[in-house]
């Protein structure tokens, strides 16, 4: 079905970016005008994301511009993540940048640049997840790096500039590998699909996947995994994460960790579907398992030795991305579903954690574990949220990540990977130790004398509260539309085809989420029983 909303989803942030660039020159009026443009854009994009996803639920997939833009259930999940977290990071930015203006860390001209780049970055991520053209997907991923470089280096300090340089160089070099993978797939597809314009379209390549050259596809996927994996925070190219996340303004770190890494994973998943349909899933699943375990297993030990809250959170990203890859590597409907759910859950929790660390920075002017003490005294609400956030991140019940981690481990055991799951659990325990060490150091004890009591304000607490509600809600229940979307996305990943997730003929065959109510743990055991029984 044709959907003009896909175009508006891209036009709105692009226009907001241009307007912000102009509004930054309005002198004293700049701040309120910029904030109106900014909030209007993120709100409209969220609404459009909901509309597009609603259309996907009804029609299966929607497309426009000669199928250059397309959304199916898999795309729908990512559109929701980008739209929702873009809105929340946008809301958080208001309070955060006001604070930066107050303490002189930003001036009005820089504020204009910040919002202009924020929306351009937002646009590039939306382009990635709505593009059906594999080469434009690469163009969009490369553009995410370029648009966020100056956001990372926004403060212009020595560490911020160093972080920005490392970020742009490592990611540009890494993503160039992705271009090779993309070119190889295209050049293979163009031999099969006679209409050359169609050969770059993902859905057309999927329909013709059986005729593609297996050797070329394997080589292409290795390039894709290395290339886009650099931006997704996959081993061994995740070294830019701690530097970037610790030096970027907190709303930017939240967008990078909660949204950008997912956009890169989205591209990897899209390519894996093509390869799986052409040569079977064993090749990509093996690579996912290897790189997943390596990402998880190496990152957790870096977490143990960190003294900066953001660097610790940054290393927690490859830990979680590793788990997502392990789930995708296990494959099948349950593994895939668990991976996608972990991806969604991690996005919510990690964004919340970076908002919280932003609040801590505003209070203490530091993120060092040697300085930040007694948060429960200094800012009790932020302290309680941090407590909840860490529990959610380690995967404690009743928070959402518990559910997805439980699904992954159960799927692994059911598919005969008991030892691998034990190793993963061991690594997760190391991450658990590191996060609790940080938590006890930050929330307990006496606050420093120079830190005043009090919270950081409504706009910096509201996004955290909204996320806390979502994190808790998704830990105990699954809203029917989201369940249907995840189910549809699982179908896209496992079969390459999309049907209307709200109820199509193909759905019954993959009804792995019949009600998704409580008690979920029991239900999943039952589901996995069905799976292994099959």
């Amino acid at each position: 079905m044709a959907s003009p909303y896909l175009i508006w989803l891209l036009v709105v942030p692009l226009v907001a970016s241009l307007l912000a660039l102009l509004a930054g020159r309005l002198g004293r009026l700049a701040r309120p005008v910029l904030e109106v443009i900014h909030m209007a854009s993120v709100t409209v994009v969220l609404l459009l994301a909901v509309i597009v996803t609603g259309q996907v639920l009804i029609f299966g997939d929607v497309a426009t511009l000669n199928h250059w833009l397309r959304a199916d259930a898999l795309g729908g999940i990512f559109i929701v993540i980008v739209g929702l977290l873009g809105f929340l990071a946008g809301l958080y930015s208001i309070g955060y940048t006001r604070h930066d203006l107050k303490i002189g860390q930003l001036n009005l001209s820089q504020l204009g640049t910040f919002y202009a780049l924020f929306h351009f970055f937002f646009f590039t991520m939306l382009l990635t997840v709505t593009s059906n053209n594999i080469i434009i997907m690469w163009v969009a991923i490369e553009a995410t790096t370029l648009s966020s470089t100056f956001l990372v280096g926004m403060y212009g300090t020595r560490p911020a500039l160093e972080a920005a340089w490392k970020y742009v160089v490592i990611c540009t070099v890494g993503v160039a590998f992705g271009l090779y993978g993309t070119i190889l797939v295209y050049s293979d597809a163009v031999n099969v699909i006679q209409e050359t314009g169609m050969a770059s379209l993902w859905d057309a390549i999927v329909r013709n996947a059986g005729a593609l050259d297996p050797t070329l596809l394997k080589l292409a996927f290795v390039f894709v995994l290395i290339g886009f994996g650099t931006k997704a925070g996959i081993f061994p190219m995740y070294t830019w994460l701690p530097d970037t996340y610790s030096e970027a303004p907190s709303p930017v770190s939240a967008m990078l960790s909660g949204v950008l890494v997912n956009c890169s994973l989205f591209v990897i998943i899209r390519f894996s579907i093509i390869v799986n349909l052409a040569i079977g899933p064993e090749f990509t699943q093996t690579l996912f398992l290897i790189f997943g375990v390596l990402s998880l297993g190496t990152a957790v030990f870096f977490m143990l030795v960190q003294k900066d809250i953001n660097r610790l959170l940054a290393y927690s990203s490859p830990e979680n991305i590793g788990l997502i890859l392990v789930a995708l590597g296990l494959g099948g409907p349950i593994g895939t579903l668990a991976g996608l759910l972990q991806l969604l859950n991690h996005s919510l929790v990690k964004s919340q954690m970076f908002f919280l660390s932003g609040n801590i920075l505003m209070k203490y002017r530091s993120r060092s574990l040697d300085v930040v003490k007694g948060l429960l005294q200094a800012a009790p609400i932020t302290g309680v949220f941090l407590l909840g956030g860490v529990f959610a991140l380690v995967g404690a019940p009743p928070f959402n990540i518990f559910l997805s981690k439980f699904m992954i481990i159960s799927a692994g055991i059911a598919s005969g990977h008991l030892w691998l799951m034990l190793v993963c659990l061991l690594f997760v325990m190391v991450a658990f130790t590191a996060l609790f060490k940080m938590l006890s150091s930050v929330v307990l004890g006496e606050k420093p004398e120079n830190v005043a009591k009090g919270e950081t304000g409504f706009t910096t607490l509201a996004p955290i509260l909204i996320l806390m509600v979502l994190i808790l809600a998704l830990g105990v229940t699954m809203p029917a539309p989201l369940g249907a979307l995840l189910q549809g996305a699982t179908q896209v990943v496992t079969t390459g085809t999309s049907v209307a997730p709200s109820g199509g003929p193909g759905l019954a065959a993959h009804s792995i989420l019949p009600a998704f109510g409580l008690p979920q743990a029991q239900q999943f055991i039952g589901l996995i029983g069905i799976q292994s029984g099959n």
């Binding site: 080469i135 031999n191 050359t196 080589l219 960190q306």
Partner: protein, 216 residues
């Protein structure tokens, strides 16, 4: 076949010009040599357009001429005029080792490329292997050069390699795709140059080894 040989030979010239770009000690001279290299790339696009009967490659040649032979070298040249002229490149590996690594990249690329069945580019296997090696050569430049502007040139070399691969394998892609990739490449250079300029103004260095505050 004469034309195919011409393209393979010109690709070899591309690699030689890369060596000059990297081994020249003054970054401004490197920028000029990069412009010369881009002219070689434009010539390859023109030859390919004639040989394959692909008119879109004339457009690629025109856009590569404007962006890579003129615009990017000019941006680099002007940016370097403001930076300290006395800063020469600092290599972390010697010239013989660089040459050895290039040779290894060419052999490995040729071995891999010749294994793949590429119906559309079977006669261009040497050119294709060189384009891939060129890409790795650009990466080598980024890793081994400490001067930030030399690292940017490394990116440009890498990008020329992938652009040649793209022309050999995906020249039938819609023009908008080529425009997208070329725009990304130009903006990448502009952003890298702006950032290097900011680093030079604030930190008074163009040596990447001095960007060492963030660790662990």
């Amino acid at each position: 076949m004469l034309n195919a040989n011409l393209i393979n030979t010109l690709s070899g010239l591309l690699l030689l010009t890369s060596l000059l770009v990297i081994e020249t000690r003054k970054p401004r001279q490197s920028a000029m040599l990069y412009s010369f290299q881009s002219l070689v790339l434009v010539t390859i696009f023109l030859a390919l357009a004639a040989l394959m009967g692909a008119p879109q490659l004339y457009l690629w040649a025109a856009s590569a001429f404007i962006t890579k032979a003129i615009l990017v070298p000019l941006i680099l040249y002007r940016a370097l005029a403001k930076a300290d002229e006395t800063i020469t490149s600092l290599n972390t590996v010697s010239t013989p080792i660089s040459l050895l690594l290039v040779a290894v990249a060419v052999v490995v690329s040729y071995t891999v490329v010749s294994q793949i069945e590429l119906k559309s580019a079977a006669v261009f296997i040497p050119a294709l292997a060189i384009s891939v090696a060129h890409f790795f050569f650009g990466q080598l430049c980024i890793v081994t050069q400490r001067n930030l502007f030399k690292q940017i040139l490394g990116f440009c070399l890498m990008e020329n390699g992938s652009h040649l691969t793209l022309a050999l394998l995906a020249y039938r892609a819609p023009e908008l795709i080529e425009i997208g990739i070329a725009t990304d490449a130009v903006f990448a250079v502009i952003i890298l140059v702006l950032l290097a300029g900011q680093i030079y103004r604030r930190l008074h260095t163009l040596d990447s080894a001095e960007l060492n505050v963030l660790k662990g």
